[in-house]
């Protein structure tokens, strides 16, 4: 195994870890805002790490012009996700505040 393959495997495994934590947060968190922050952060970093790993893995089969162009396109997708995903999370959370969704608290009477 070449050094690029090892680095890309580490990056993709890290991305899968963050996807896993985001999914666990989505299922286990108690209310709307907690789920938003879990998926917003975890998905963004997981997607960026996975795409970086794929871009590096693509370079492993030879450093030709076509391969470099494909890797640059993959990194453009990663940059786009890095900018757009937190903004979308912010917009959805703000819509929740505007619709007066109450945050979860530990008190019994608020839960009912």
């Amino acid at each position: 195994m070449s050094i690029l393959e090892i680095i890309s495997i580490i990056l993709i495994l890290g991305g899968l870890f963050f996807f896993f934590t985001a999914t666990v947060g989505l299922i286990r968190m108690p209310d709307y805002y907690c789920r938003m922050q879990a998926t917003g952060k975890g998905d963004t970093l997981g997607a960026v790490l996975c795409l970086s790993g794929l871009a590096l893995y693509n370079l492993d089969s030879g450093l030709s012009f076509a391969n470099i162009i494909v890797s640059i396109k993959i990194m453009f997708i990663a940059i786009f996700i890095f900018i757009a995903n937190p903004t979308a999370t912010h917009a959805i959370s703000k819509a929740g505040i505007d619709c007066e969704v109450k945050p979860w608290t530990k008190k019994k009477e608020v839960q009912s």
Binding site: F80, I83, A84, T87, H90, A91, K94
Partner: protein
Amino acid sequence: MVNRYENVLIETVTRLLIPAMQLFGLYVIAHGHGSPGGGFQGGCILAASFILMVISYDIKELKSRMSENLNTILCAIGVFIYGGTGLLCVILGGNFLDYSVLHKILPVDPIKARYMGMLMVEIGVGIAVMSVMISIFLNIASRGEHEGALN
């Protein structure tokens, strides 16, 4: 209803993203016959950039950049390019949308003429899809009134 400085984050990021989205839409249209994509998909991406402008600002912002008249004219022009390319092939002696006969008027051989004809049709489809999607969105979102913010 919407405060001007209430959603400064969304407006700033939108201002960053809309040019990139439009550039990517043009790329998808231009590469439609060589890679995944095409006129419809590129037109949808272009329309999505304008719809994002309406969502994050308001309809007045879109109207100042793309009036309703221009939108309707672009819709007609897109259909005209698509149908005109097809009918041009019929006039030159082929079937409808049989691009290879276009080599009689283009300075290229029949195979390259097929390539060029496909590009022309996809540009027409892209323009038509973009303007029709913007028009449908505006009419549904503002209940046909074409004014006011979406809230």
